[in-house]
Amino acid sequence: MTDRVLNLVIFAGVLCVVAGGAAAVGSLFGPARRGKTKESPYECGSPILNETRKKFDVRFFMLAMIFILFDIETVLLIPYAVQYERFGVAGLVIAGIFFLGLVESLIYAWKKGALDWK
């Protein structure tokens, strides 16, 4: 037991020393040329237009949320799609019940007006 724990402690110690040392060396010896461009969020991208902390329309939020939900459901269907031959008719029925819930939730979002863009 002690061997393994000791290994773990040594590993953790080396990890801290290496990571902390690299960061320390960088900040001590690295050249620091500060400037407006250098400190902008996207140094070599497009210039920022305005603050990010401002009100935005709740429609974006709803759409993003619905997108994430259905995206994740797709992920759940992929394992079945890869292995569907193994599961036969029974698997088809079970996946069908799952899909029924998906369709139902799409209809729900639609009817409740979450998809309207106006």
């Binding site: 037991m1 193994r86 029974a90 029925v93 079970i94 019940i97 029924l100 139902e104 209809i107």
Partner: protein, 524 residues
């Protein structure tokens, strides 16, 4: 189990879950298709109730007949009487919630279909939770249950307290899930298996360094469950969430979630805790942890409940105390040297859960009934006996049962729990529990005093919900069941014993019944 399905698909499905899920889909569909909200209420209610009844019928079909515990879904779900008993309890909680929400839904300004759809989805997660037999199934079903209940806690969109309850419950629940999944990862890392049955054997073959990591994981899983059942010191969310959530939801949380979480915890402890570990039944670390959580929950839950003015908040603290009593059963289960005694303690837990379900579910149903627009907690029970004697009688029965007074189910349940703790040698824990429940009797009886010996508050008119037959039916059923459980508990105790023998007895590896699915082709 289901001849029709088996012949059709050659595949064993856990039908109650499917029924609940389909009922949820139907409820939401009716809500969407309906022209007016009021007219859709009854069809939605019947659809939900129909789903619960169908689930109940298929449970009974499975329970009866020649029955061997077996695993389905590639070993993910265990169909045994222990799980079926807990499923029945969850379904009772769901049915009570359907009845109590029928009238209360108008105050929430939301469609009954949305509400009951969420309740049914949560209930299907609970059914999976109490039958799940591997770590991934446990985690997935905990999440399926919890996500729906987070939304339910905040479903009263016009109430700030409801939103606060949902937020608190969500943050604390996510925290608990983090513990749960990290613990499971540690257990899997050591044992290389997710099946509960194999965890113990795998640990027995490991040396101490590995076992300590696994014990850390097991401790984290237990902490995750302790959050879910609201045991001290993981109880801080309980009073605020129970008070802020709409009362039918609180009843559902107090009854069904407790059934599901204790079921899963019990199964996890019995199946996965390594009784082969170094030849001892249970490791001292886990034992001390359960002992401390149980004692703290009983003492602190009862102590804080005494000082509450709001009945709903008092019931929240009382539910913490009841978690403590039930955890005492789990301590007793592990303290027994033999598996027969363990199954006694387990059946005491199951019976107590049943009694607690009717007592607490009924009490929250009554608070739903007395609630008004100005007082959503339904707290003003002063002089209820003069306003509506029947309701006061029902509430008295629930309070007596929760306090553990003879002639109610609560007495038998407490007797079974405490005697199993004493027989297991946990005298001190039993003493703490008995002292705590004496304190408990005080605040339960105070409610009865309020109802019978005080005059009604002037201006407190007859409750507007007087013709709410849903709540009336729930109250009638719950009070009759509480008395029946107290007067003739034998059939129910026998079923609880039958349920716990299958899980506690040393058993053969259960057969996996899905022969229709060929094994995955091995890929090198």
């Amino acid at each position: 189990m289901y001849p029709l399905l088996e012949t059709l698909f050659g595949f064993d499905v856990f039908m109650p879950v499917v029924w609940l899920f389909l009922a949820a889909v139907v409820c939401v569909s009716i809500e969407l298709g309906a022209k007016d909200r009021a007219g859709a209420k009854l069809p939605i209610f019947y659809a939900a109730l129909g789903g619960v009844l169908l689930a109940f019928v298929s449970l009974f079909n499975t329970w009866g007949g020649a029955f061997e515990p077996h695993l389905i879904l590639n070993g993910g779900v265990m169909i045994d009487r222990f799980g079926l008993f807990l499923c029945a309890g969850v379904l009772i909680g769901t049915a009570l919630c359907c009845f109590t929400s029928l009238g209360a839904i108008d105050r929430l300004r939301i469609g009954l279909g949305d509400f009951l759809g969420l309740v049914l989805v949560a209930a299907s997660g609970m059914l999976l939770l109490v039958t799940s037999y591997d770590l991934i199934m446990i985690f997935l079903s905990v999440e399926l249950m919890s996500l729906a209940i987070y939304v339910l806690a905040g479903i009263n969109r016009s109430s700030g307290r409801s939103a606060e309850a949902a937020m608190k419950y969500f943050v604390m629940g996510a925290f608990a899930s983090g513990f749960l999944v990290l613990g499971m990862a540690l257990i899997y890392g050591v044992t290389q298996t997710i099946s509960l049955a194999e965890i113990g054997d795998a640990l027995a073959a490991k040396d101490n360094a590995y076992r300590n990591v696994a014990m850390l994981g097991i401790g984290m899983v237990v902490i995750g469950f302790a959050f879910k059942v609201g045991a001290v010191p993981f109880h801080q969310w309980v009073p605020d969430v129970y008070t802020g959530a709409p009362t039918p939801v609180t009843g559902f949380m107090a009854v069904a979630v407790k059934f599901a979480a204790f079921g899963a915890l019990g199964r996890f402890v019995v199946e996965a805790f390594p009784d082969t570990l170094g030849g001892e039944k249970f490791s001292p670390f886990g034992m001390g942890m359960f002992w401390a959580i149980a004692a703290l929950s009983m003492v602190i839950g009862n102590w804080l409940a005494v000082t509450q003015e709001n009945v709903k908040r008092m019931l929240a603290y009382s539910s913490i105390a009841h978690s403590g009593y039930l955890l005492m059963g789990i301590v007793a289960m592990q303290a027994y040297p033999d598996s027969l005694g363990s199954s006694d303690a387990m059946s005491a837990i199951l019976f107590y859960l049943l009694v607690y379900a009717f007592g607490t579910g009924g009490a929250f149903a009554l608070l739903t009934w007395t609630a008004t627009d100005s007082n959503e907690d339904g707290g003003d029970l002063r002089g209820l006996a003069k306003r509506s004697p029947g309701m006061a009688l029902a509430m008295s029965i629930f309070m007596l049962s929760l306090a553990g007074i003879p002639l109610t189910g609560g007495f038998i349940g407490k007797y079974m729990l405490f005697s199993s703790a004493i027989e297991a040698g946990e005298i001190w824990l039993a003493v703490i529990g008995i002292l705590a429940s004496i304190v408990g009797a005080f605040y339960y009886l105070r409610v009865i005093v309020l109802m019978y010996m005080k005059d009604p508050t002037p201006g407190e008119a007859e409750a507007k919900n007087a013709d709410d037959w849903g709540v009336r039916f729930a109250l009638l059923t719950a009070s009759i069941a509480t008395v029946v459980l107290g007067l003739m508990p034998n059939p129910f105790v026998a079923r609880a014993e039958n349920a716990s023998v299958t899980i506690s007895a040393p058993q053969q590896p259960a057969p996996v019944l899905n022969a229709a699915i060929p094994a995955a082709p091995s890929r090198s």
